[in-house]
Each structure stands twice: as C-alpha cells, then as structure tokens.
C-alpha cells in the first residue's frame, strides 16, 4: 500500500505546480484560507468578547462608536466590538456553509452516481424528485421548513436546523452534474473491460467511476459552499439564525433591526456584508479554477497524432525504449 502514497504524493505535487501558476485560483485560495484562518483563531484575534460591552471612562457603553484605535471596526448599538463579532461570526457562517455544502455534496453525488449508473426506475425516481425540488422556489420552502422544524420543539439548535435545511435542498445541481458524467463514463471502454473481467457494480463504482468524478465533485463542492454561505446569510438576515451565536447574516439582521442605517453606522452593516462577499468570491474563484483544471479532457486517437508528440513537460528522460 505504500505504492499508493508515492502515487498520491506525486499527483498532489503535479497538481500544486499547475495550480500555482493560476492567478485567479491563488487569489481565491487566499481569500478562502484567510477567512478560515480568522475563524479558527478567532479567540486570539479578537481583543474583546463578542458580547462584551466596551465602556468609556465614565462607565457608559460606547454605542455606535465609529472605528477607532480601541475598536478597529467600531461598536454596535450595545457597545460591543464589531471586529470581535465579525471574527466569531466567521465561525458560524463558515461552519454552516461548509457543513451544509458537504451534506449537499454527499447526497448529490451518491444520488447522481446511483441514478447515472443504474438508470431505469431509480434514475426516473431521482430525476423526478430533482425536478420537483427545482420547481419549488427555494426561499419560501426553506422558510417553511425552518419554521416548521422550530415549531416541533425538537430541541435542535437553530444552527443545526439551518445546516440540515440547506444541505437537504441544495443537492440537486450536484446530482444532475454527477449523473450526466456517470452516464457518459458508463459507456467508456475501460468500464466495459472491467465488466468483461467480471467486476460487480460496487467494484466498478469504487474503482472506475468515483476516481473520474472526484475532481469534479471537489470543484462543485467549493461552489456549493459559496452558495450555502450566501443562503445561510440570507436566512439569518431574515431572523432564522441563532441570536446567541450570531453569524454574519445575523449581524446584518441586527444592524437592520437596530437602525444602524438611520444612525449612519456603516461600520455595523458593511463589514459583515463585505465578509460574506469575501468568502463567497473566494469560493467561486477557487471552484471555477478547480473545475477548469480537473475537467477530464478527451483523449486523442493515434490518427490525430499522439498527444505525446509535443512534450509539455519532459518529466522523464527521453530514453531508448525497447517497447
């Protein structure tokens, strides 16, 4: 099994070398990873607690204070530091975004593979379900679901509800994408060869289908995460988040509810908005670049000239091969 590691390391190295050259991709990666960094090290990066009121010399709360040396992004209506809230809010936004994204990816890929590989009734059933979900407008449906789940008093944290709702509704695009890939993969000769050897469907899916679609799944997941973050922000803005653990969307909700706009406190609503854009943009750039790079390209036939005819990177010494 050590062979696998060698191969994996080599692949990652090749990938990294190619990725390094793509400016857009690097930018996207920087955006995303900086956000992750901030979220991870939140306690060390925030001078105050997010719900701590900053008081001035007289002990009065410093409400709606513009950015200053004490509070780099100013304070909100209760004198709490915006920067600290932002930094802790990153944790919530990113967690929900990533978790929901992963759930959507997982469901979507599995269903896509099943539908694509087995076809027939399974395919029909799944595709009709997808159609139904696509037809119903997202936002109203999610509002209803979240509201219903809360009413049921299942004692689930609102954050978890958000994750579930977003994850369970956003798998459809992924499923469609994966399904069409699998459909075309199924017909390729190396799959026919595997069947001729006697491989069962599990082996074929595991060894032949999944490795081919994995890159696409990765790229698609990143894009789904960006959507999830946006959706979460939207739902939180509408008040469906957890006020005790504010995400960026919740911060926007507070800003709106507590008259930040009429008070001219731009430092209350701009930072969370920009933060959302920061991360979403990063994910989109990264996802697009990944998709471009990892797209399985068509192989060429010998009559069109061997693809090796013009070597792009001489990775091996040109030796005399007695093939």
């Amino acid at each position: 099994m050590s062979k696998r590691w060698i191969v994996l390391k080599r692949n990652l190295l090749n990938f990294w070398q190619a990725f390094r050259r793509n400016r857009m991709g690097l930018l996207g990666a920087c955006l995303v990873f900086s956000a992750l960094f901030v979220a991870f090290f939140a306690p060390y990066l925030s001078p105050y607690q997010p719900n701590e009121t900053i008081r001035d010399a007289n002990g009065r709360g410093l409400t709606f204070a513009p950015p200053s040396v004490h509070a780099p992004l100013g304070t909100d209506d209760a004198g709490r530091d915006i920067w600290s809230q932002l930094v802790f809010g990153a944790r919530i936004s990113l967690t929900v975004g990533f978790l929901a994204g992963f759930i959507a990816m997982f469901i979507g890929s599995t269903l896509g593979i099943l539908a694509g590989y087995f076809g027939g009734r399974i395919d029909n059933l799944l595709m009709r379900t997808t159609d139904i979900l696509l037809v119903i407008p997202d936002l109203p449906l999610m509002l209803i679901l979240v509201a219903t789940l809360r009413r049921l008093e299942l004692h689930i944290s609102p954050i978890v509800i958000l994750v579930l709702v977003i994850g369970l509704l956003y798998w459809t695009t992924t499923a469609r994408l994966i399904r069409s890939q699998v459909l075309s993969l199924k017909e390729r000769q190396f799959v026919a060869r595997a069947r001729a050897i006697g491989a069962g469907y599990l082996h074929i899916i595991r060894k032949h289908i999944v490795p081919q679609i994995l890159p696409l799944v990765v790229a698609n997941t990143v894009l789904t995460i960006s959507v999830a973050i946006l959706v979460e922000s939207g739902l939180a803005f509408l008040g469906l988040g957890d006020p005790t653990k504010p995400s960026w969307g919740t911060m926007l909700n507070f800003a709106f509810d507590r008259n930040a706009i009429s008070n001219g406190a731009w430092w209350f609503y701009l930072p969370p908005g920009l933060a959302i854009v920061w991360v979403s943009l990063g994910c989109v750039l990264l996802g697009n670049v990944l998709e471009e790079m990892l797209n399985p390209r068509l192989t060429s036939h010998h009559l069109e000239g061997e693809a090796l005819m013009v070597a792009r990177q001489p990775t091996q010494p040109a030796r005399q091969e007695k093939a």
């Binding site: 099994m1 062979k3 060698i6 191969v7 080599r10 390729r188 000769q189 190396f190 026919a192 060869r193 595997a194 069947r195 001729a196 050897i197 006697g198 491989a199 069962g200 082996h203 060894k207 032949h208 490795p211 081919q212 399985p296 192989t299 060429s300 036939h301 010998h302 061997e306 693809a307 090796l308 990775t315 091996q316 091969e321 093939a323």
Partner: protein, 357 residues
C-alpha cells in the same frame, strides 16, 4: 465468494476429460429490439429487431487461433461481447471446454443444474477479452499496477501483496514490458499506444486464461507497432497454449497467424475453414470480393477487383433468402428465396452459397 473452489470442481473434471475444443458456439442469436415510436406502438405495428447475430455456429480448438473477419454490421463484435457476458444471448448455446455456459440471468430456477455447466464468473476466470482502443480501455486514473492487478482483485486471487506483485510482474514482463517494476506506478497517458496495448494484454493474461478474445487489437495502432503486438500474441499462443479468437476487419493480418478463418456477413458466417484454404480457394462471392479489394503493398500487382455496389444493409432489414443476394454479382432467382446453409466445399472448408457444394 471463493471462486477458486467453485471452479476447481470443473478443473479436476477438466484434467480428466481435457477437451480438444475450447469453445463451441451453437446457433447463437443475438437480437436487439428497436425502440418504437409511441405512435407505432399505439397503432400496434410490429416491433423491429436488429438481428446482429443471426445463427452463428463455430468451434475453436485448444491452442488454436481463429480469425473472425467481417465489415461493420457483420456482428463480429457482438459475438465477442456475448461470449464474455457483456450481452445476453437471445438463443443458442455456448460451450466452454465442453461445459454449457450457465447464464443464470436467463435460466429459471427449476432447470436442473447438471455438473456440466459453467457459470459466467468461472468463464471469466478462464477467458479474457482484449479490447480495441488502447487509449480508451485503460482507466486514466489507475496506475499500471492497479490495472493489471484488477482481474486478480475481482476474482479474489493472490490476495497477499507479495504474491500479487509477483503475478503482475510476470504478466507485464511476458507482455514485453521490462523491467516491470518501472511501470508499476505509471499512468496510461505516460505510455505510447503500443505499450498501452501491451498493458491490456498483460491484464488479460494475469489470470492465465485459456482463451483470449481479441477484438481488433491492432487496428488503432501505427503500422510498425502492429507487428509487435501481433508477434506478442503469437508468442503467447505458442508459449502458453492459449487459444485466441481474433476479430478483425483487416484481412492482411489474418494470414499472419490464424489457423482458422470465418468470414461474417450480416450476422452469419458465410465461409469458414482453414486459413490458407479459404484464402487460396475462396468460394463464397462475398469472400472473393473482399479478397479482391484488400489493398496490397505491391504496385506491380494487377488484378481483377470485384467492387460491390452499395453498402452492407442495416441488420434491421435483412434481405430475404440469401442475405447477400442484393449485392451478389452471381445472384440468381433462386437466391432470393432460399437461405443457404454452410456446406462443405472441401475437407475442413465450408461456404454458405447456393452455387456451392
């Protein structure tokens, strides 16, 4: 499931009565139904079928090479796919080493399972297929080692890493890729077309099969590489005694190492026999026409070429009587009504033509 023991029962029987014929096909039919337009279904119009393989019988001797030659639409690839189990036969029998192929998908449970039956899984242990396109038949994201080890993995053989490595090494080296260890971690796109085809052959030979189904193994390779691969196949046949069903449309390569030759047209074998007998003394008009138009690298050769008009008809609409009669230069009124069977022309040489035998 331990395939070794379930097939081993056949193996001991094998030793006792080693058959001279490794593969026998009897009256094989493979028809594909054509999907009807909704309108036609409502109007109760009879459905159409593509009769890709329409009554084919032949046998291959142990250690022999048989070439199946035909143009597109002749059904040769469908036969290979049916033999290896990628398609289910519509009717007919396939016997491997004297045992009837038991395609459990078709047979009902109350049919008695006599000992002389072989399951599809066992068949795949002893017969392997070599595909046409070396660029497509290898998983681009699998290493060469994984590709060659795959048949072993699927059938649960050589589970220990060391033994598996040994078998993969043997297979690769026999296929001419030396030193084998150099190739273990490489990917298909790093190899040339000829090398890739060798990998395909190595993977097919990993299980040490008794029968190879080679579907156009060299038609996608350059001319100078073709010879290598053909030589390799021939060497494998001589050294390992593996029988080969060699499917091709290229007459030129057939003379090279096929013992037996069968010409197919529209789902039937129209002529068959020992290679040189068929080539020197072709009796069916289609064979004669084919042989006369195969390009030969000899500019001084002047010959009478029989160029047939039109194209092979669609297997959906097979002509009445002798299926070749619309294009046959020797067709007569009789040919439109009677469907000829394979008749003996000389010892070991048959042709299906009303004007013969």
């Amino acid at each position: 499931m331990d395939t070794q023991t379930t097939c081993a029962g056949g193996a001991s029987q094998r030793k006792m009565e080693a058959q001279q014929t490794i593969l026998e096909v009897r009256q094989l039919h493979k028809h594909f139904p054509v999907r009807q337009a909704l309108v036609d279904t409502l109007l109760h119009k009879p459905g159409k079928t593509v009769r890709a393989v329409d009554g084919v019988s032949f046998s291959i001797g142990r250690g022999k090479v048989m070439a199946l030659v035909g143009e597109s639409g002749s059904g040769k690839t469908t036969i290979a796919r049916t033999l290896i189990g990628l398609e289910e036969p519509t009717s007919g029998e396939i016997l491997f080493d004297g045992q009837m192929l038991d395609d459990s998908r078709r047979h009902t449970r109350d049919e008695p399972k006599t000992p002389a039956r072989i399951s599809l899984k066992c068949l795949r242990l002893r017969a392997q297929m070599v595909f046409q396109d070396p660029y497509e038949s290898l998983n681009p994201r699998a290493t060469i080692f994984e590709i060659v080890a795959e048949p072993l993995e699927v059938h649960g053989i050589a589970k220990e890493a060391q033994e598996r490595e040994k078998r993969v090494t043997t297979a690769l080296e026999e296929a001419g890729l030396r030193p084998a260890a150099d190739y273990f971690l490489r990917y298909p796109h790093e190899l040339s077309g000829g090398q890739r085809q060798r990998v395909v052959i190595a993977a097919a030979m990993a299980l040490e099969p008794e029968l190879l189904l080679a579907d156009e193994p060299v038609s996608m390779l350059d001319v100078s590489i073709r010879a290598e691969i053909l030589n390799l196949l021939r060497e494998l046949q001589r050294r390992r005694g593996v029988s080969i069903l060699f499917i091709t449309h290229d007459m030129g390569t057939v003379a090279y190492f096929a013992d037996q030759l069968a010409i197919m047209y529209l789902g039937r074998i129209v002529e068959s026999g020992e290679t040189f007998q068929v080539l020197r003394n072709a009796r069916h008009p289609y064979t004669q026409a084919l042989l006369s138009v195969v390009p030969v690298p000899n500019p001084r050769l002047r010959r009478q070429r029989m160029i047939l008009q039109g194209e092979t008809p669609n297997p959906v609409d097979i002509p009445s009587g002798c299926r070749f009669h619309p294009r046959c230069p020797l067709a007569s009124e009789r040919c439109r009504h009677a469907d000829p069977e394979l008749r003996e022309v000389e010892a070991g040489h048959q042709a299906a033509c009303l004007l013969v035998g």
